[in-house]
Symmetry: C2
Subunit: 348 residues, 2 copies
């Protein structure tokens, strides 16, 4: 049986006892990883993906009969850490809190030691998607936003909009946030939360246009079904983080914005199939050749990031299983290092 090496981060260290499964609760997961660490793991994930060091089979999911939502299962294997992750994620169960006392969406992550396929960890996965998606925007800021960027426009003011700020403030100084939402209530609570938690002034915009026109960095997290941002609102030099569109039928940006922008994807395949990038492709505003590349290629210095202060850059983030893998493997490793969690022997 292996013992844990608390310092090194190589393959050997991450593995615990093959016969023991570590159980991690939601509150433990919350304390086991910092946003700074999540950003590091997402950066690693993007590099790994663009280096072909991962396996990510297509996910499986099910839509339950209405008014229930959906559950899906995403599988990722990373050859460097020798961890296979499986994340089950549910969402869209509006009756859960009232009728059953549980959140409307939940998650579970299983980690397997890829050398044996032993189950080494079961952790609550409710926080993971939010964290690693928040980190994705921050990673893009490092290589695609202007160095002198100060002002953020946030179109959408829900949980993920907050998470984007939480992550981006780790990689730049945010001067102010111009926020807009369809619903006035969430806008007001977003302002209160952000100002209290981070001390960043939030200006409530009267329209999406008013917010976007101020932006050095524009974040869209609405999961909308049609464009909310128009092309002529976007100033030269803006970096756009397009988060909301991760499946067919969703859209946030007028496709014309892509015409002269530097387009960067997390996964070319996914973004062209179901990301924001699908729309301009579908309307033949761009071809696949007009896509600059994957963010992993930029992080690996295979392709340039931002090249001047005038270009508009777009990062289309659809989310990948390998982000779940590297982030949850880090949580697991931190738990072993800090002796957090409960061991359980499913097999003896």
């Amino acid at each position: 049986m292996r013992t844990t090496n608390a310092c090194s981060t190589d393959v050997q260290s991450i593995m615990g006892n093959q016969m023991q499964t570590l159980l991690l609760k939601k509150e433990e997961v919350r304390k086991l990883i910092s946003m700074k660490e999540v950003i590091g793991t997402v950066e690693e994930a993007y590099k790994a993906f663009s280096s072909k060091r991962v396996m990510q089979p297509g996910y499986i999911g099910m839509h339950l009969p209405p008014p229930r939502g959906e559950i899906d299962f995403k599988l990722g294997y990373y050859m460097n850490n020798e961890v296979i992750s499986m994340k089950a994620s549910s969402g869209g169960f509006p009756d859960n809190p009232r009728l059953y006392g549980v959140p409307s969406g939940m998650g579970t992550v299983l980690l397997f030691d890829a050398r044996t396929c032993a189950l080494i960890c079961v952790m609550d996965g409710s926080l993971l998607t939010g964290l690693r998606t928040g980190a994705s925007g921050a990673v893009s800021v490092k290589v695609l936003a202007r160095k002198n960027a100060k002002t953020i426009a946030s179109i959408g003011t829900g949980q993920q909009a907050r998470m984007q700020i939480r992550a981006i403030r780790e990689v730049m100084d945010i001067g102010s946030i111009h926020a807009w939402s369809r619903t006035a209530d969430t806008l007001v609570s977003y302002k209160a939360d952000i100002e209290r938690e981070f001390g960043i002034p939030v200006i409530l915009a009267n329209s999406a246009k008013e917010a976007v026109e101020q932006a050095d960095i524009l974040i869209t997290t609405t999961r909308g079904k049609g464009p909310v941002v128009q092309s002529d609102w976007v100033r030269p030099g803006t970096h756009i983080i397009a988060i909301g569109t991760d499946q067919q039928g969703k859209q946030e940006l007028q496709p014309d914005i892509f015409r002269n922008a530097k387009i960067v994807n997390d996964s070319l395949e996914q973004c062209c199939e179901k990301g924001e990038t699908w729309h301009p492709l579908n309307e033949q505003i761009i071809t696949r050749n007009d896509i600059h590349g994957e963010i992993g290629e930029i992080l690996l210095s295979k392709k340039p990031g931002r090249e001047n202060d005038e270009e508009i850059t777009i990062f289309d983030s659809t989310g990948m299983a390998i982000q779940d893998n590297t982030a949850s493997a880090k949580i697991y490793q931190n738990a072993l290092d800090n002796k957090v969690g409960t061991f359980f022997e499913f097999i003896e």
Copy 2:
């Protein structure tokens, strides 16, 4: 929060507390369900499948770099018990016992309450596939074997060959077993194990032909890559249980056997794509119209089972997620009823 009703088997009773997840170890799972119960759950699964009361998205899996094997993930939702099951199954890791002290194949089952997608159970799934596959043959014996069947031929003498006998003896009196295997060692231990455990005499055949010619019921569990049973060896009235072929590239029966047989599938779609039934279809010995139907249709009395003592019947079993669902949901229910297992709160 719900409390458990120990007697009824309806939707309400199977659900525990939505905030608590029941953990079940391998040894607990082993004691929590009898083969008779597994047979009942597999019968229910077949009926549910042919009644369109299930959702079973295509499975996802990965082949690890050699000499490692594979891991796959199968998802099933059964509308009657309102349980979603996800089974992770690994196999083919020859170095596991020697280098890591774990079995060469393992399994984990997650159960979700389909009303909320709360994680209600994590159980070891190492035994499940063997049990529910064993039960599949027994279910077919009930509706497809001759009532006066006594003699079994077992082509293949591994773990699943034993499991078939363990299940079939629950539904008929087995007079004797004529066994054959490519490897003499496993043949001898099979005889010893079966005679000790069940008191059924095992006759070691000198050839596959010698065994098959004696059979009222023929079981093939070799997972072979080419036909081991020839058409002219099979007597009229034989019932064939074809277990070994569950993916492209595997084959156990000479396709000609299908020509005048009553062909029954667990899932028409799966058997035609990757079961033993694929071979005669591929060689144009039969068309899809020559397939009698699914075993669920017979169990639901929508189609006849065996109609006379002369016909040769073939049950092609490829295995379905819904079998994992009904069997593991029963294990979970038995655990709640008998207060077995350990509760863990992943969310609080």
